[in-house]
Symmetry: C2
Subunit: 222 residues, 2 copies
């Protein structure tokens, strides 16, 4: 099995790192806009076919020089974790809303995000599984921020009522720690209050413990 | 609250419906390719900026005539449910892999799908929350296929080991039904066996029961 804590180190200068965020971040943001525009498209078929042809040309151009596989995770010499391919927070991943997670070292994490048409389940509502996706990431980041990194072992979600598309607030905090096990509680709320609550158990696998013990810093995901 | 079972009926002929699947389906598939190409892009900054400009032009063109909001769900006169905006199965949603769910009326649902770079969590692995997203949809479809539609009330996921990116198999079946409550069990497997198991509770809200009683057919999601 690939060692998931074996992050590659990339020697980017602070300037290169900032420029990367700008160029790749805005390219990805434009792609998110395109996803929404494609989803809601009502132009005549012929024009949609033309646009598809243009999109294919851009993909071919990008594919002339690309990473051989998924982005993976790398760290800068300053310790910033570049999880740019991450499906929730990834700077280069147009599937990700992206959620910009804030956190503190007590093991709290929170975020505000607005979910559009691409995250729909029931009409006008956030897909129940999208809520699970976002909460899994947020709970994992809370565990990690509190010094107890791990992989999801169990996740239980209680859906109180539907969550409308639009602005939502996410929260998570460490509830308790017992050795290699960390329990995190999280929630999603809309303007009227909590819609979903969850509890996640995060476990540091045996093979990963040594790597974490070697690591001196709490990772800063970006 | 919006009535989630109040699907609009669109009087598409079978031919229009087929043409729609072709045009919008391939436009969305091209957009999925672009998402992957953007994620793995390594071209020089200047060229990426140019490509971003081209993407913005295509979005503007699409936005000249579009749906006012999310796609929602509609049904054809033949009873096919067009959940084209759905984040897991949506024909028009480039965020969706998409998962093509097969099912039978005993309350079983299954699917094979290949997950690429856009669904990454740990390096080379499927994001734990993406697995939750897919299983939520699959369990809901199993409940619905078995005649017990409902909304997710609770979802519990047990992660046995990491799921590598690549081909995976999803399964779900109704475990038991008690009045308005349906319990569904599901799993994800890679070539070496099960990686994640889940149990979902699906509940038909009081306000929706009458609408379902009026409905004579098991919905066919596409």
């Amino acid at each position: 099995m690939q060692d998931m804590l074996d992050y590659r180190v990339e020697a980017l200068t602070a300037e290169e790192h900032a420029r990367e965020r700008e160029v790749h971040g805005s390219l990805t943001q434009s792609t998110r806009e395109l996803i929404d525009a494609v989803l809601r498209a009502t132009l005549p078929d012929g024009e949609l076919d033309e646009i598809r042809g243009e999109i294919d040309k851009l993909s071919a151009r990008l594919r002339s020089n690309q990473l051989p596989g998924p982005f993976g995770i790398s760290v800068t010499p300053e310790g910033t974790v570049r999880a740019h391919g991450n499906a929730v927070v990834g700077l280069r991943n147009a599937v990700a809303p992206p959620v910009q997670v804030e956190k503190d070292s007590s093991g709290k994490a929170w975020a505000d995000v607005t979910l559009g048409a691409a995250y729909e389940g029931p009409p006008g509502m956030v897909h129940g599984g999208v809520s699970a996706l976002l909460l899994d990431q947020l709970c994992g980041e809370a565990a990690s921020a509190g010094g107890s990194p791990g992989m999801t072992g169990q996740l239980t979600l209680n859906y109180r009522r539907p969550t409308p598309l639009g602005p939502i607030h996410l929260e998570a905090h460490i509830a308790r720690v017992d050795g290699i096990k960390t329990w995190v509680e999280g929630s999603i709320a809309d303007a009227d209050g909590v819609t979903i609550e969850c509890e996640g158990l995060f476990i540091l696998p045996r093979w990963a413990r040594e790597a974490v013990e070697r690591s001196s810093t709490v990772p800063i995901f970006e």
